[in-house]
Amino acid sequence: MLLVSTVPRLWGDFEMVEESNVLEHELVPEHYVMPEKEVGKVLKQYGLTKDQLPKIRLSDPCILTLDAISGPVEEGMIIRIVRRSATSGMAVCYRLVIRG
């Protein structure tokens, strides 16, 4: 598996995890690239255009990792994010990948 290094080496003599997969960290929610046909369904469900979705940057560590693991992630793609929620247990949201 390809791993993306995001943690700098700071601790001198201490043994440090040099490479880590942010998506495996327990505080990071699950990110999935959505297949094109499902994208249409979601947009229709909410009556949205892509630009009305929340955004996520290409330079986001999660996107970088996703890009390395499951093929190229490009701007305009939609990421499905599933995370733990204090109020409902689990919450799903969608984000539009943008440059930057």
């Binding site: 909410y46 009556g47 949205l48 255009t49 630009d51 009305q52 979705l53 929340p54 955004k55 701007e75 929620s85 204090a86 109020t87 409902s88 919450a91 799903v92 949201c93 969608y94 943008i98 440059r99 930057g100």
Partner: protein
């Protein structure tokens, strides 16, 4: 695109500059003379008051468009400047352009490839996000990149360093650049290079930043006023334009006459000064232009900027009609939905009454009464009548009858407020939605607004001189909407924590405590007196018939409870005994309500209080706003009846303790002091045992604080032994009405350690807090321990230490309020257009999603049970009855701190309480 309800949408806003040609083209006339009016008082042609610039005098017509005063909005004129002048508003851009372009060929100091790359980057960003802020970063970056170059990549000319001498003088390695030279350089910059810097050459050429023509605003923008003496007084902007014109004229004459260069340059600079101050009279680096009286002129920027500027004072802040403001005072006999409005205000605030066939007679009758009908009691009248053609007729005592006869359908009659009208009531700072609520009017004598005390918490109001605002609603829609959404009874539960924000406070709680505590009972007369205020209650059968008829307080309270209410909880007075004796509790703290009958327990803060009232909470949830409103109204009257019947007062003698107890406290203090000395001795001898993770000094501090904390508790306990429930102050503390046992023990026992930043006091003089002590003294007195009580009085050093501790609290709150106020403003600005849509998503006005599901669970926090959507315990208890208690833990968890009530800053005892408890908890908890 799914944008509903939006008929027009701004797709883009473009900012551009006026070119000199445009300025001349839109000009109605050229202004050449500094004179405004001739000797006969007529405006001079081609002067600053030229009639082509619009009309300000009624009766005259505009020479440009022919319209009258309010129809013509005015027309611009222009002044042709003799020499070009820098526009202060653009010096930054001019500097950037001069620095990043070649001094000889005018090209941007970047290679073709570099420039293309920047353009491409920006195009991408604009295409993808339309984010202009980010594209402006790229422009800034390209300019910085270009200005760092020392030779031109196009013509290899060596570049000199350009600096700005504030506000408007540019220098090239010390040599001064005239505005003319600056303009010439800017003219040389090719269109293509401007794009790289983020300038659209189609609408904005940089040389336009150096003015050759100055627009003259229409006279409507700078009207002159005629004083009582008949003299005319001109607007500041006009004055400034006169200056500009005069100097411009002199400059032209001197230049044309071939005057020495020095004189021309002086005049040129003077013109620059006048035009600079014409735009902004607070430009740093130059003295502001002043009026003859010495007052600085208010020029263009001053009109817009700051608190009194157009934006903050005229656009964001608006003043409204049909509003009133006055001092507030309490009235427990009003319903929480009501507000008492003084007659004078009610006659000023009117409601438009549209005359129809049905109400024509009524409207006429009302109109005939005139604007101030007299009579026994309040009789509403009419101030204005608006005819069908829109004309507004003021009603006076004289014309009332005649106007009334003419009233017919289609007229609007503006009648005075009457009882039952819906209005909005507000108290600043309006921090949450409960700061503006709809009330029903009750017109009353005297001059204050009055309302039920239970409504104080949401407004955070008290009656030490607070004023509040009232707004009369002017349309049926507004009234309907306010009644449904904003009425006080709809806001009993707070969306902040899902508990009641409207509820009993202070004496109201004391009253219900006195009504229901243990076997409190009332005679026939007392009972009737209490019940007479609660309109629809009849006298029940007495609880005790012999030897005399007596009614129990619990029985009376039960009368206002719904007949099917079941509740079990612990009251505020509960001592949290190890094992609860439940119904047999000797403090009568275990509240049991079955079928709407209060079987045991005392009704106090936990039952009725704002923020904590469990009965209110449950009733609001299960019975709806109408029922709770009725309950609160009746409970208020009962509680007030009870406290009036028994009488209640508190004074300094409530803190009296026997001299024996005083001696005991003194002894305890001496013991504590000796113990502290012991610890210090051990520390000095090096015998103190170090605590893990702490330095020796820290260990000592911890030990000392432990001892002193315990000493204060001991003092409190000794004092507490003599403070029983027969003591008013104790009643208030125990039932949650006001104050705490800690406050009392500080008044009667000892105040205890004063702290700054959670530590004993240590700063002040060299190695000591005050010169009264030895250097390096660590003893209790030397470091801020107060062994006296508020009652016994503080020694001078103690008083000083107390002020130190108190000051920290004040600074804290001051800092907190200002910072949280700013935070609040930012938050509200960011969230003001966000709303929950029909499909459960949260969006802003652009339809952009903020949350896919509101709160991720679609739960309205106002209707939630402390964050949960369903109150499981309550369901179990409802279904299983008393058996359910075995399964359901009696909910005590959240109740402890529903919402935190902000206490008065002026009450030192309350700050002392929170500070000491939070920061200086050495001796363990206080009261139960």
């Amino acid at each position: 695109m799914m944008i509903t309800g939006v008929t027009k949408r701004i797709s883009a806003i473009k900012f551009a500059m006026l070119s000199p040609e445009e300025i001349r083209k839109m000009s109605a006339t050229k202004i050449i003379t500094a004179d405004t009016y001739d000797d006969d008082g007529f405006p001079i042609d081609m002067g600053l008051m030229d009639p082509h610039l619009g009309v300000i005098e009624p009766g005259l017509r505009c020479k440009t468009c022919g319209k009258k005063v309010d129809e013509c909005s005015g027309h611009f004129g222009h002044i042709d400047l003799a020499m070009p002048v820098i526009h202060v508003g653009y010096v930054k851009e001019i500097k950037k352009l001069l620095q990043s372009t070649c001094r000889s060929c005018g090209h941007l100091l970047l290679t073709k490839e570099q420039a293309d790359e920047y353009v491409k980057q920006r195009d991408r960003i604009e295409e993808l996000t339309g984010n202009t802020i980010e594209s402006s970063y790229i422009s800034a970056e390209s300019a910085k990149d270009a200005s760092s170059r020392t030779t031109c990549p196009h013509c290899s000319a060596v570049q000199l360093k350009i600096t700005l001498d504030k506000p408007t003088t540019f220098r090239e390695e010390g040599h001064k650049l005239t505005p003319k030279e600056v303009r010439e350089r800017l003219e040389r910059v090719p269109d293509g290079d401007l794009v790289v810097l983020g300038i659209d050459p189609g609408v904005c050429r940089p040389e336009w930043m150096v003015l050759t023509a100055l627009p003259v605003p229409p006279v409507t923008v700078r009207p002159s006023i005629t004083l009582d003496s008949g003299d005319r007084s001109e607007d500041d902007v006009t004055h400034k334009l006169v200056d500009v014109l005069r100097i411009n004229q002199r400059l032209r004459e001197n230049r044309d006459a071939g005057a020495p260069q020095l004189i021309v340059e002086d005049l040129w600079e003077l013109l620059q000064y006048h035009i600079t101050t014409y735009f902004d009279n607070q430009t740093s680096g130059i003295p502001p232009a002043r009026h003859r009286s010495g007052r600085p002129l208010k020029t263009l920027v001053q009109r817009l900027k700051g608190k009194e500027g157009r934006f903050r004072s005229n656009l964001s802040g608006k003043r409204v009609n049909f509003s009133a403001r006055t001092v507030i005072s309490p009235d427990p006999m009003l319903s929480i939905n009501e507000v008492g409005v003084p007659v004078t205000a009610a006659r000023e605030l009117t409601v438009p009454l549209r005359v129809t066939e049905r109400n024509q007679v009524f409207a006429k009758e009302m109109c005939a009464r005139g604007p101030s009908p007299e009579g026994p009691g309040y009789i509403p009248g009419v101030n204005y009548v608006i005819r069908s053609d829109g004309r507004r007729i003021k009603i006076t005592d004289k014309n009332a009858e005649t106007v009334a006869e003419g009233v017919e359908t289609g007229y609007i009659v503006e009648r005075h407020l009457v009882d039952g009208d819906i209005i909005l009531f507000n108290r600043q700072p309006s921090l949450h939605r409960m700061s503006i609520m709809a009330h029903e009017v009750r017109v009353m004598p005297h001059k204050t607004f009055r309302f039920n005390l239970c409504v104080c918490p949401p407004y955070n109001a008290d009656f030490d001189g607070d004023e509040m605002n009232l707004h009369g609603l002017q349309s049926e829609e507004a009234r309907a909407e306010a009644k449904v959404l904003m009425r006080v009874q709809e806001h009993i539960l707070s969306p902040r924590f899902g508990g009641p924000v409207i509820g009993a406070i202070h004496d109201h709680i004391t009253g219900s405590f006195m009504l229901t505590y243990k076997g409190s009972a009332f005679t026939r007369e007392e009972t009737v007196r209490m019940l007479e205020k609660v309109v629809d209650l009849d006298l029940p059968e007495p609880a005790v018939k012999k030897p005399v008829e007596m009614w129990s307080g619990k029985q009376l309270f039960s009368m206002i409870l719904p007949k099917d209410l079941h509740m079990t909880f612990k009251a505020s007075i509960c001592q949290n005994c190890e094992s609860c004796k439940r119904e047999a509790c000797e403090n009568d703290a275990f509240v049991v309500i079955r079928s709407g009958i209060l079987l045991s327990g005392t009704i106090d803060e936990k039952a009725l209080g704002a923020f904590k009232g469990r009965v209110l909470d449950k009733m609001a949830r299960d019975y709806g706003p109408d029922k709770v409103r009725a309950f609160i109204d009746r409970a208020t009257k009962l509680a007030v009846g009870a406290i009036t019947m028994r009488g209640f007062t508190t004074g300094i003698d409530d803190e009296d303790i026997p001299s024996q107890a005083k001696r005991e406290i003194d002894d305890a203090m001496v013991q504590a002091k000796l113990k502290v000395e012991e610890h210090i001795g051990a520390y000095r001898r090096g015998e103190l045992e170090q605590m893990p993770g702490r330095s020796l000094e820290e260990t000592l501090e911890v030990e000392i604080m432990k001892v002193l904390g315990k000493a204060r508790d001991t003092a409190g306990q000794i004092a507490g032994r003599h403070l029983g429930l027969e003591n008013s102050a104790v009643i208030m503390a125990k039932c949650g009405a006001r104050g705490s046992m800690l406050n009392l023990s500080q008044m009667a026992g000892a105040i205890g350690q004063q702290a700054v930043r959670g530590e004993r006091l240590s700063r002040g003089y060299w190695n000591r807090t005050l010169p009264h002590f030895e250097q390096g003294a660590l003893g209790s007195e030397a470091r801020g321990f107060i062994k006296n009580s508020y009652k016994s009085g503080l020694s001078p050093t103690e008083y000083f230490f107390h002020s130190m501790g108190g000051r920290e609290g004040l600074v804290d709150t001051a800092v907190r309020t200002s910072r949280s106020g700013y935070m609040q403003r930012r938050l509200i600005n960011a969230l003001e257009d966000v709303k929950v849509m029909q499909d459960g998503t949260v969006r802003n006005t652009a339809g952009t999603i903020i949350q896919f599901i509101y709160g991720e669970d679609n739960i309205d926090p106002m209707r939630a049970v402390q964050g949960d959507s369903v109150d499981v315990d309550d369901v179990i208890l409802t279904v299983l009855g008393d058996e359910g208690e075995l399964i359901a833990k009696v909910r005590e968890k959240g109740v402890v701190s529903y919402g935190i009530q902000d206490k008065d800053m002026l009450e030192p005892s309350s700050t002392a309480e929170s500070d000491e408890d939070a920061d200086f908890d050495a001796g363990g908890g206080e009261e139960g």
